[in-house]
């Protein structure tokens, strides 16, 4: 199959630890089969600057924690046919969203990170993207088509979902999904 007619896959890394991407890579030799059937057009694993148009499948790791991410996610949604929340941060908010349990968390976390815990020059930097009042899972910001929970999601589940989708089928998560 010529590479330009193969389905386009993008991956995205928002507020998360990159563990989900690691898990994707944990598919080892299965990746080679996957690579035969897709073209990877965007993400931390490739060197593309702008999010391309007409992406078939976008895997997104991480929760939405700042304005920049929210705006970017909305753009990505526009250009993605299928959008998948990858891992607990994207699905539930997970660890990044733990700040939601405290009052005025956007300021509180900056205060803790840059002022309270700083030995020298306690100062909140101005070039940190503005934090949202709350951290959101993806589906509270945009429409999400499929979910692969897990912290990290098992490599096999990622492969399963992608294989099914590439075969034009709908993945079924019963007895498969894996929180935590």
């Amino acid at each position: 199959m010529p590479s330009n007619s193969k389905p386009k896959l993008a991956t995205l890394w928002l507020s998360g630890c990159s563990g989900c991407h690691m898990s994707l890579l944990d598919n080892d030799e299965a990746l080679l089969d996957l690579a035969k059937n897709i073209q990877l057009v965007y993400g931390p694993l490739v060197d593309t600057k702008a999010f391309p148009e007409n992406v078939d499948i976008t895997l997104i790791e991480g929760a939405v924690a700042n304005y920049e991410q929210a705006a970017f996610l909305k753009e990505v949604r526009k250009h993605s046919k299928i959008l998948i929340a990858l891992g607990d941060c994207a699905v539930t908010g997970n660890v990044p969203a733990l700040r939601n349990t405290i009052k005025d968390s956007a300021n509180a976390v900056l205060q803790r990170a840059f002022v309270e815990n700083s030995d020298k020059q306690p100062l909140i930097p101005t070039d940190v993207p503005k934090l949202l009042r709350k951290v959101y899972p993806l589906h509270e910001v945009v429409k999400v088509d499929h979910y692969i929970p897990g912290c990290p999601p098992p490599a096999g589940n990622i492969a399963y979902v992608l294989t099914e989708l590439l075969a034009g089928k709908i993945p079924i998560m019963e007895n498969k999904s894996k929180y935590g």
Partner: protein, 234 residues
């Protein structure tokens, strides 16, 4: 006392059990799985979580299988499309109600709520989550209660009252504000009635009550109530 045997059908399987058995117990006895959370063998059946709802042929209403006794000729359906959808909704509501973050929870991989979510394919929670910030009470020498993880199944309240016989735990307030309390809503260390028997931690289906420093796989004991009660002198 001789007990009568009752014959019924669960999902098409003919089974017979002793009279007085609940539908859920009959199903468990016969290897049929009906999801449940608040039910625990040996404790009073409260019918609170609504996961074990089943359909009875000829009846429009749904019944909590944990508390509905079997009767002759009963035909039970445990896995209709509607029931599956309702169970998923119930799990999602429980997950959305408080701060449930599996990855940092002491009960990760030892949690009945997590296991059910995985099993039923609850791959996300459609409802906006509440991020409760209740203070964790770790004042007791080794028992900890984190109310942010509590699903109000009241297994702890029941085991404390019915098995340990102390009733150190109960609920305060009501509705979504309900909380497990110790004595007069005291910190656990100040409880005068708690015997530190740790049965509450043994039966907690999630990570709300646990023993500090002990892996939950070791603490949890689903059989404790049944074990104690069946050996208690009548």
């Amino acid at each position: 006392m001789t007990t009568k045997t009752v014959s019924l059908k669960i999902d098409g399987h003919d089974i017979s059990v002793q009279e007085g058995t609940s539908i859920l117990e009959a199903a468990i006895e016969n290897g049929i799985d009906i999801p449940h959370l608040c039910f625990l063998e040996g404790l009073t059946k409260t019918g609170a979580c609504r996961l074990c709802l089943v359909e009875l042929k000829g009846q429009a209403k749904l019944f909590a299988s944990c508390s509905t006794p079997v009767s002759d000729g009963m035909e039970v359906i445990t896995d209709s499309v509607k029931l599956k959808e309702y169970r998923k909704k119930t799990i999602q509501l429980l997950l959305s109600e408080r701060t449930h973050v599996c990855s940092v929870c002491v009960a990760n991989k030892n949690c009945e709520l997590q296991a059910l979510a995985d099993k039923l394919g609850v791959d996300h929670v459609a409802y906006e989550r509440e991020w409760t910030g209740e203070k964790v009470d770790s004042s007791h020498p080794f028992l900890v209660i984190d109310r942010n993880r509590c699903i109000l199944c009241t297994r702890c309240v029941r085991v404390c009252d019915e098995v340990e016989g102390v009733h150190a735990l109960d609920l305060k307030l009501r509705g979504k504000d309900s909380q497990i309390i110790v004595d007069f809503d005291d910190s656990w260390a100040n409880s005068t009635s708690c015997t530190s028997c740790r049965k509450c931690a043994k039966v907690c289906p999630v990570g709300a009550i646990y023993v500090e420093g002990e892996p939950l796989s070791q603490t949890k004991d689903r059989n404790i109530a049944n074990f104690v009660l069946s050996r208690r002198k009548k």
